[in-house]
Amino acid sequence: MAPVAPRSGDAIFANIEHVNAELFTLTYGAIVRQLLTDLEEVDEVNKQLDQMGYNIGIRLIDEFLAKSNVSSCVDFRETAEVIAKVGLKMFIGVTASVTNWNAEGTCCSIVLEDNPLVDFVELPDTYQGLHYCNILSGVIRGALDMVSMKAEVTWLRDALRGDDVFELQVKLLKQVPEEYPYKDDE
């Protein structure tokens, strides 16, 4: 059977079930508010959001691979393109762009112009250290972890803090080859 060509993000997004973005936005806001009330420290909240994102990412990658029919990415460049154009589009309906590649091709920036997570949100002065969308960085980190790529994801620009776009820096730390839990010759 001929391999099925990967579908574009728009095509997949059109075919899956949708839910109102405002419900999504408001639920995320409720989560962040609960975390701030419980944990109080902004750094703790950032870490917790990243951890929650990681938990989501390790499950999300399965659904992503199943629905999008992408073949294995040849190199990290392709991975980043796929995340930005297909992955983000498929789940939250935004198309991001990939820029700022470094010389070795292991570090790039994913730029999101609009972001449904931050509709209606304004950061008060006391919480300026909060990375409101930190769940996204956790999701990307978790998803890459499950496909054997250890990455570090950090925020470069944050529209809630006065920049004009959201910019995530994704740095590939190493590719972990898959280990089999058994030996073939035993």
């Binding site: 997004f13 079930e17 949708h18 639920t27 995320y28 609960q34 989501i56 498929m90 304004e122």
Partner: protein, 194 residues
């Protein structure tokens, strides 16, 4: 530089124009997010009652904001003053905006004057959730109950709202009923208004 200044910067978030509310995200993104909410709260509590209360509180915040948003955008800043008015607002408008369809049914309770029930065959939030036996009657619909309570409270109709599973014959999954019990003052006011 091309592209600079494409997004106008607003000094205050309240100055930004409200979008029409037609943007959508994938159901799985919401499902993942909701599952993380439930999982996080499970680590913070010791018993099921607490867990339901926390989910309800999260929903309450959503409900309060949904009321403001919808009143401004869809109803032209007119507010409901009658009981049936606010109930049909919740049952139709709020449900349509949040879940894409009106609720399955709205009924008045037979035993008590102050009870009303909104029923749904399968709540959107419960779609990918199964409750283990040792959690008894816990229902993640407590989140939706919180949303309803937030809307009613904000509109001036204080009530106690809970979510219950109602097993239906012939169906594998039980129906979910949101039970709304209005406070005394609401009924007195309603009687006065005639």
């Amino acid at each position: 530089m091309i592209g600079v200044g494409k997004v106008k910067q607003y000094g205050n978030v309240l100055d930004k124009p409200l979008n029409k509310g037609k943007t959508e995200v994938s159901l799985s993104a919401f499902a993942f997010l909701f599952s993380e909410l439930v999982q996080y709260n499970q680590t913070q509590v010791d018993n099921i009652g607490e867990l339901e209360r926390r989910l309800e509180d999260a929903g309450y915040a959503v409900g309060a904001r949904v009321l403001e948003l919808l009143c401004h955008r869809d109803k032209g800043n007119r507010r409901e003053t009658r009981l049936l008015g606010i109930l049909s607002f919740v049952h139709s408008t709020v449900w349509k905006v949040l879940f894409g369809k009106v609720a399955d049914s709205l009924e008045k309770g037979t035993e008590h004057e102050d009870e009303y029930m909104i029923s749904e065959k399968e709540l959107l939030v419960n779609k990918f959730i199964s409750i283990p036996k040792d959690m008894g009657t816990f229902n993640c619909g407590a989140f939706v109950a919180g949303i309803v309570r937030g809307v009613l409270d904000g509109a001036g109709f204080p009530a106690v709202v809970t979510a219950h599973f109602v097993p239906m014959e012939g169906q594998q999954r039980p129906r979910t009923t949101i039970l709304i019990k209005f406070a005394e003052e609401v009924l007195l006011r309603e009687a006065r208004l005639g």
